[in-house]
Amino acid sequence: MPLPLSKTFVESAGLTNIGRRRKINQDALLLDDQLGLYVVADGMGGHKAGEIASRIVVESLGDSMGNPAYDSDMMHPDDSFSPEANRLLSAIQNANRNVFRSSRENNEYKGMGSTVSVVYLQDNSIIGANVGDSPIYLIHRKQIEEISVPHTLAAEQAATGTNGITQPLHSLSHILTRAMGTHDSVDVHLCEIQRFKGDILVIGSDGLSNKVSREEISKAAQTLPPAEACKHLVSMANQRGGEDNITVIVIKIGHVASRLNSVVKLLMRFVGKVFPVFPKKRRTV
């Protein structure tokens, strides 16, 4: 449903599906257009533990970010990030601790964990954060790229060169090197990117990305409304086996007011120069 944000227009939809083989859905998702917060978590662990882990991640993030009084509890915020990004990092660390604590306190949840991939929209930027292998794609001017980093053994091996690998990389692709809730703190990958009108973001679980190519995701997201794109992508993954749970969120960014504002501001300056009687508005920063 399209919702006017403070300065922008964002249209989003999300869908999670159990797939065709699994008995339970261990994926969880969150969409909050008001907050500009979108989360996919893919849980792991036996019995119901994975389901619990992903749910704790999503609920904890929603609670922290949705609470205006929630402030970064980071003792040493990273100055290279914006305050909003630091706030998100802190909320992810908090969610990680909640999963870790729960796995420690309940024997049947021992060893559970989850991935997390978050898109946090700001007025002029996109903050993307991830732990694990749930991808975040950005489609900018018809070009798709992954703005998350897959924390898998295969990706780490590929990053250090393929020397010394005797097995196909995909056999290591489902082995994560980082996850939420397996330690008391977690290394989060985070990036901040300028946002533009027409940008589309897609967050998925590996149940989607293992079955549907980037090009197919890009095409569906560009040609279909978000809700239709989600249905189409999930159905594609299921038609190709659906061995894993499948989750997808599609976010389309509409008008960004600041670009229009700049033109209006420029015109006002001209008017101000020509007719100096106009009171000059002082910019406060």
């Binding site: 699994r22 990053a159 005797t166 397996t182 901040e192 990117i193 920063v285």
Partner: protein, 237 residues
């Protein structure tokens, strides 16, 4: 539980049980689970982790490397009968006769699992080896060629240049946008985006109206300021 049998020149030196969820370390130092006192073996040479139902052998950046069935490996999913060679010693990985071996295909292939590589990463950092973390591009600066002097460190993930005093680097000018351009660090490098203002940036002489990926030594012009992107490589000892 599978068993590792340590051999030297076909002579068995001991058997070690692999316990679920307990990493097993192999090396020359006494704090390893399997100690091989031989100079060809590194202090902490390799480790075996359990991921789901699989056992994964990882080389810990050892000097003389690990071999499985005579092929060098950095990480390897162990299979029944695999022979690991460390220095001149051999370790045979085998499941017990009455034990169920992990399935080779089917649903397990899609089961996500996590392996603890923090120890591996720490050791790589300590040994100053290139880390496997490809999270971030190298640190970079903008070296001013004209319109200013010195270097500007790209200190923010989203570095803003414009006439707004809150910009990370301020360039004044009537036609300059409040935030004229941004430079963002993404997993695969630095990207320049034109944001607003009549002054459009040029990269290597070409006007940019959208987003471009920057390469090292690209020149960026914005109004009267000309700068060059330079990567900072960590100093080698």
């Amino acid at each position: 539980m599978p068993i590792l049998t340590l051999k030297f020149q076909d002579k068995s030196l001991g058997e070690y049980d692999l316990e679920p969820r307990k990493p097993l370390s192999i090396g020359r130092m006494d704090d390893n689970d399997i100690v091989i006192d031989n100079l060809a073996v590194s202090g902490h040479h390799a480790k075996i982790d359990m991921a789901g139902t699989d056992y994964i052998l990882m080389d810990l950046q050892s000097k003389n490397k690990c071999f499985v069935n005579e092929e060098m490996v950095t990480s390897h999913k162990l299979r029944h009968g695999d022979v690991i060679t460390i220095g001149k010693h051999q370790l045979t990985f085998a499941y017990k006769d009455d034990e169920e071996k992990p399935k080779k295909s089917g649903e397990d292939l899609y089961q996500t699992m996590v392996i603890d590589t923090s120890q591996h990463r720490e050791m790589m950092k300590k040994s100053k080896q290139p880390t496997a973390d490809a999270d971030q591009p190298p640190a970079a600066t903008l070296s001013l060629l004209s319109g200013g002097q010195g270097e500007i460190a790209i200190s923010k993930k989203l570095f803003k240049i414009g006439k707004n005093p809150k910009s990370d680097y301020q360039i004044d000018g009537f036609w300059m946008g409040q935030t004229a351009i941004t430079i963002s660090q993404r997993p695969d490098g630095y990207y320049l985006s034109y944001v607003e203002g009549m002054s459009k940036p040029k990269v290597n002489g070409e006007i940019i109206k959208t987003t471009v990926r920057l390469k090292e030594f690209d020149t960026i012009e914005l109004s009267r300021v000309k700068m060059q992107l330079v990567f900072k490589t960590p100093k080698k000892k």
